[in-house]
């Protein structure tokens, strides 16, 4: 397991352990950040979908800006990375 993979695993497990005491939207934040970390791992490993992954990463960062602040805006913005993933070959 490389360092980045270990970090991601620790991040997911630690988040699961701690989320019950935290604000509800932290769940979404943790998932977004974990997705971002996983994308970086894929990019480092030279994944063939480099361009698409970069776009998904940007969409996730855009959505993150309204996470916990504006639920409807967040929901709307999240549709973009969902659709980008759908198009991923």
């Amino acid at each position: 397991m490389c360092e980045d993979e270990k970090e991601l695993l620790a991040y997911l497990v630690t988040s699961a352990a701690g989320l019950s005491g935290e604000p509800a939207y932290y769940g979404q934040l943790r998932l977004l950040d974990a997705a971002g970390k996983y994308i970086r791992i894929l990019q480092k490993n030279g994944n063939q979908n480099a361009e698409e992954l970069e776009q998904i990463q940007r969409s996730l960062l855009e959505a993150r800006k309204c996470c916990g602040k504006n639920e409807s805006e967040f929901s709307e913005r999240m549709q973009k990375p969902v659709l980008q993933l759908l198009d991923l070959q």
Binding site: E7, A10, T14, A17, G18, R30, D33
Partner: protein, 178 residues
């Protein structure tokens, strides 16, 4: 580089992106001295500051602290020595006193850091079991919060504050009297 205190209050931000500039132990000691000047209930001074500035250890702490972001070069664990409480404290010290004291000390630390142009962030999202093991914190130290420290990579605007009229009450907390 010291600034007016009122400017320090305005300047302080929660930093979530750090440069890789290292912070000297002399500077960190000054910040801890500032933290020590905060009041404590019954003058308990039960706080203990475990400073991680070894990058390998900092990385491990960050791995088990989902609330930490931006690769800080320093993480300060603020703990309460519960032996002090047993000796000179009370039930209330355990229930809320020590936590209050740790928070006030952390705020002093963060303002002292802002005064020196450094960034900090108070962190409560971490796994205490893992962090205590990584930093070899004894069982009788209760971990209250973490504070990340370093040079901010970017300047951020302060989140808007509620209007004063919403939070300030004179002589009565009854909202119907406002």
């Amino acid at each position: 580089m010291h600034v007016e205190f009122s400017d320090v209050i305005q300047k302080r931000r929660s930093t979530r992106k750090f440069t890789d500039t290292r912070i000297s132990r002399d500077v960190i000691k000054e910040l801890i001295r500032a933290a020590q000047m905060a009041p404590t209930a019954s003058n308990l001074q039960a706080w203990r500051f475990i400073v991680a500035d070894d990058l390998v250890i900092v990385k491990q702490v960050c791995m088990f602290s989902p609330g930490i972001s931006g690769h800080p070069p320093v993480v300060i664990a603020v703990a309460s020595d519960l032996r002090e409480v047993e000796e000179r404290g009370s039930e209330n010290s355990i229930r809320y006193g020590c936590m209050m004291d740790a928070a006030m000390a952390a705020e002093n630390l963060m303002l002292a850091a802002a005064d020196r142009g450094l960034g900090t962030c108070a962190i409560k999202s971490y796994n205490p079991t893992a962090v205590k093991k990584i930093l070899r914190i004894p069982d009788y130290f209760r971990l209250e919060l973490l504070v990340t420290l370093g040079v901010s990579e970017n300047e951020t605007a302060a989140p808007a504050r509620k209007p004063l009229e919403k939070v300030l009450f004179w002589n009565s907390g009854d909202e119907r009297n406002v």
